[in-house]
């Protein structure tokens, strides 16, 4: 029986499995991550650097970690070739090897577990990693999260066709994997990151037919706009996507139809134009990848100048959780940082310095130009998602339309016919509070699919802000939870589960008196004496 004073069915006396330990774990081998790893090794720390690329094709087809739109060549099935490609594309990775960093490609970090008062049993921080050989736990003293950026989804008729992909995804396939199966792209969005994608696509030999921008002016800096225009790419401002059209089903997108908007944001009749293309790249917003940070409990804030929801960080990258740092795009995205990798590299070096020197960060936060992210994203969602035919699935995984979200409709498979006298909508659910994407998610299922909300969560947030008439900054970030990359049940299984965990595992607390029927209890509510008969 139990040692008095210890509940054996609780986590007391148990610890997470730890397969190995390291002083510094760096997640993401982009410029910031590699620089952090190299600097850490240079300063005498043991360092593990993990990067999920090359990602296996099954995961890519699930739109994880980016929406690849099926536009991968067959080369992505050859993991050795893809590993070579990743190495060739990123010379800093080789530098990291040479600096003594334990570099692990094809290794994703799916969770960071840091002790908090309500999850104290974790003890020393642990990261969950997964690669082709399985899942392991790495104990760490410090983690630098350099997980980069991803794309915001944007629904319109035909956006579920193969060939509609993210701009970051297109850029990654083209420049890192050398495996982008696209010949002619239309870019949606004209921010710095979208324009940089266009330039990289052109350099990779992909034709770019046009850049479509809903605002009256291009969003990105003029130097990039001029470079794109100088390459012969047409930039249509004041335009919105009407629909993507398909050719033969398996090939997906064959064309894109756009229309001009009047000053009130309405489509101008007769202004439609068609572009032949096999790929539509969604570049309306580059989103900081904060899944590991937010799921670990780091405080986040909506900062329009940094691309939206970002971790609260000191200038040296320290988050609100001791031992957890964020650098690079994961800590915030702005045009100057996207244009010059040295900005992110400097962040990485400052983070390592603050870890090794242990001194409070004295750097100043960069003063950033204001960005009207609220206006930009609302314009796009209003023009594309709402003013479209309403049948497009904002959440493709769970088949949820914009109207379903705004009317908080249950999924169609329930066969539920709402009473016309009892309409549900956000107002009746929100009452006196700000919109909650988590609450809407629970009821509509938007964001509950296998892409883990990557394609829809920003769209849902903007829809809620539009409907409630509040700024985007009033809409809380929808919570992230581990595993932030899907893991198979048999992968996630801990084959080194501790005996203490196994021996005392219960389905639901180990309170014997919970499982007594009324006739087994006395008038005083206490268990009756048990007779052995």
């Amino acid at each position: 029986m139990a040692t008095k004073g210890v509940d054996p069915t609780s986590v007391s006396g148990k610890m997470p499995t730890v397969d190995e330990t390291v002083e510094l774990l760096v997640v993401g081998a982009g410029p910031a991550g590699c620089s952090a790893a190299i600097e850490g090794a240079r300063r005498g720390l043991s360092v593990i650097l993990v990067d999920e690329n090359p990602v296996d094709v099954e995961t890519m087809n699930e739109h994880v970690p980016l929406s690849f739109g099926g536009r991968m060549t067959g080369a992505v099935r050859n993991r050795n070739a893809m590993t070579e490609a990743v190495l060739a594309a990123s010379p800093l990775i080789a530098d990291a090897f040479e600096a003594g960093v334990d570099v692990r490609l094809g290794t994703a970090c799916w969770g960071l577990f840091v002790a908090t008062p309500t999850a104290a049993w974790v003890g020393r921080p642990v990261a969950g990693l997964v690669d082709a050989d399985g899942v392991r736990h790495v104990g760490f003293d410090h983690v630098i999260v350099a997980t980069g950026s991803r794309d915001m989804g944007l629904a319109f008729p035909g956006w579920d066709l193969p060939g509609v992909m993210g701009a970051v995804a297109a850029r990654r396939l083209a420049t890192v994997y050398g495996a982008l199966d696209a010949r002619r792209v239309v870019m949606i969005g004209s921010g710095a990151e979208a324009l940089l994608s266009v330039l990289d696509l052109l350099a990779a030999g992909v034709s770019v037919a046009a850049v479509i921008e809903v605002a009256d002016q291009p969003v990105g800096p003029s130097e990039l706009v001029d470079r794109v225009a100088g390459q012969g790419v047409e930039l249509l401002t004041g335009h919105v996507v009407v629909r993507a059209t398909g050719g033969a089903v398996a090939d997906g997108v064959a064309g894109l139809v756009v229309a001009a908007l009047d000053p009130d944001g309405r489509r101008i009749a007769g202004s439609e134009r068609s572009f032949d293309c096999d790929t539509v790249a969604l570049g309306v917003a580059a989103v900081p990848v904060i899944d590991l940070l937010e799921s670990a409990g780091c405080r986040t804030v909506f900062d329009a100048a940094r691309g939206g929801h970002v971790p609260v960080v000191a200038p040296g990258g320290a988050t609100s959780i001791a031992g957890v740092h964020a650098v690079g795009d994961a800590a915030g995205i702005w045009a100057a940082k996207s244009i010059d990798p040295e900005v992110a590299i400097a962040e990485a070096r400052r983070a390592v310095a603050s870890i090794v020197d242990g001194s409070p960060d004295s750097a100043e936060a960069p003063s950033l130009p204001p960005v009207d992210l609220d206006g930009t994203l609302k314009r796009w969602v209003q023009a594309s998602v709402i003013d479209a035919d309403g049948a497009s699935h904002v959440c493709q995984c769970e088949e949820v339309t914009a109207r379903d979200v705004l009317e908080v409709r249950p999924p169609r498979y329930l066969g539920w016919e709402a009473s016309t006298q009892k309409p549900t909508d956000l107002r009746t659910m929100l009452g006196n509070g700000p919109p909650s994407p988590d609450q809407v998610k629970r009821l509509t299922r938007a964001g509950m699919g296998t892409c883990q909300g990557r394609r829809c969560r920003e769209q849902v947030a903007v829809l809620l802000a539009l409907e409630a008439g509040v700024p985007l900054s009033d809409v809380a970030v929808a919570s992230y939870r581990p595993p932030v990359r899907p893991l198979r049940l048999d992968q996630m299984t801990d084959r080194r589960e501790q005996p203490a965990m196994t021996e005392h595992w219960q389905a639901w607390f180990g309170i014997d008196t919970m499982w007594l029927a009324p006739w087994e209890l006395g008038a005083d509510g206490r268990p009756l004496e048990v007779d052995d008969d």
């Binding site: 699919g449 049940l489 996630m492 299984t493």
Partner: protein, 402 residues
């Protein structure tokens, strides 16, 4: 019972200054009680510190099979009618299958069979082969199990929101993001609930605030012993629908949802102190790997299925793990309720019981004696330490650096 259609308040109306009954707590228990009261024509307001169902009520396995409860028969009577009664889908489905992998599990399931027999509810013992016929994802390594023609499962999120909307349909009000800060008393009664939205006058009060039930009752001079803990669950991608979704065992509770996801929990909980919850959301931990292991064992044909998220929840228990539904002894007009971690499935019935206590002074459909608060009279103030329900290891320094 007339189904009064009234303009549903949107919460942007005038502030709420009073109601006949104020219900503190917007989880399944408080909402169900408020719905029953509203159906009975009582003017009721629910005060919820956050969002309805964001506590344990929205984070559980959706099970409706706690046959040990004096509320169980009423719950079983009501669940099949809840969609129609509420006017919104709950996804309730009947029956439960339990699969055992060792003798200890089998004995526990046999207990449920005995209880069912006593209540006049049917169970059938199954061998592994029969289980495989009934449960397509099951495998060959179990030692058998039970099919209970009672119990079942529902969707916690949908059910909680259904209660809230139904309350509003009946003219009741639900105030979210409104925290209770205290109570005003006069003549042995609570006269007002002090909230962050101002005072709300009340004739009668229900406290059904989950882990906060104890501290709120203490404001009224009453001891309601509860201890908070954290529990976790995982969910997989959708799988082909099995004929019965209410399948668990192997140290797990949970179900296959109507969408096809496998949603399961189990394993060690974590005790902590109420103050630890402030400003913190429940987080899952590596216990999820133990859950994944057991789901793969329970459903070998689903071992390849991807886990796409996890979550955790904060849930309270009383010292004997059984509910309290009783009047507070220190004031005349307050009913307190904690369902001690078995609340969701029983909620149609617990709400009914609370409503009857409020409006009639007694529950007519079952004997609530075993839920009395007085059974804890004389409880050792150090009861948590006696039971070992203490936080694991040293309190970590707050990891927040500012």
């Amino acid at each position: 019972m007339t189904d009064a259609m009234q303009d549903r308040p949107t919460g942007t109306d005038e502030p709420v200054t009073g109601a006949d009954v104020v219900v503190v707590g917007g989880g399944a228990t408080g909402l169900s009680a408020a719905w029953w009261l509203a159906r009975a024509g009582v003017d009721v307001v629910v005060v919820e510190a956050g969002i309805v169902g964001f506590g344990a009520s929205g984070r559980n396995g959706g099970g409706c099979t706690h046959g040990y409860s004096p509320l169980f028969l009423e719950e079983q009577r009501l669940w099949p009618m809840m969609d129609d009664l509420l006017g919104y889908p709950t996804e309730f489905r009947r029956e439960r299958v339990r699969i055992a992998f060792d003798e200890a599990q089998m004995q526990r399931f046999e207990r449920m069979r005995e209880i069912g027999d006593r209540l006049g509810l049917r169970s059938e013992k199954l061998d592994p082969g029969q289980l495989k016929d009934l449960v397509p994802l099951a495998g060959d390594t179990s030692i058998g199990g039970y099919h209970h023609a009672f119990g079942g499962h529902a969707n916690p999120h949908r059910t909680v929101q259904a209660y809230a909307w139904a309350i509003q349909d009946h003219g009741g009000r639900v105030l979210q993001h409104t925290r209770v800060e205290g109570f005003r008393q006069a003549g042995g009664n609570v006269t007002h609930v002090e909230t962050t939205a101002g005072p709300i006058a009340c004739q009668r009060l229900v406290i059904a605030a989950g882990p906060y039930t104890g501290v709120l009752s203490a404001m009224l001079g009453a001891e309601v012993p509860v201890a908070p803990a954290r529990a976790e669950m995982i969910v997989t991608e959708p799988l082909p629908l099995m004929p019965l979704g209410g399948v668990d065992g192997n140290g797990l509770y949970g179900r296959q949802t109507l969408r096809g996801n496998l949603a399961y929990g189990g394993g060690p909980h974590e005790w902590f102190d109420l103050d630890d919850m402030a400003g913190r959301r429940p987080q899952s931990s590596p216990v999820t790997r133990g859950i994944a292991k057991r789901v793969a064992e329970l459903f070998p044909k689903a071992a390849h299925a991807k886990v796409i998220r996890s979550w955790a929840g904060f849930i309270e228990n009383t010292p004997d793990g059984r509910p309290v539904i009783d009047r507070l002894p220190t004031v005349d007009n307050v009913v307190v309720a904690t369902m001690s971690s078995v609340g969701f499935g029983l909620s149609p019935a617990s709400g009914h019981a609370i409503q009857q206590l409020v409006t009639d002074g007694a529950c007519a459909f079952t004997d609530l004696t075993t839920f009395s608060l007085s059974r804890f009279d004389g409880l050792d103030p150090n009861w948590r330490r006696e039971l070992g329900w203490v936080r694991s290891g040293p309190n970590p320094e707050s990891p927040d650096v500012g």
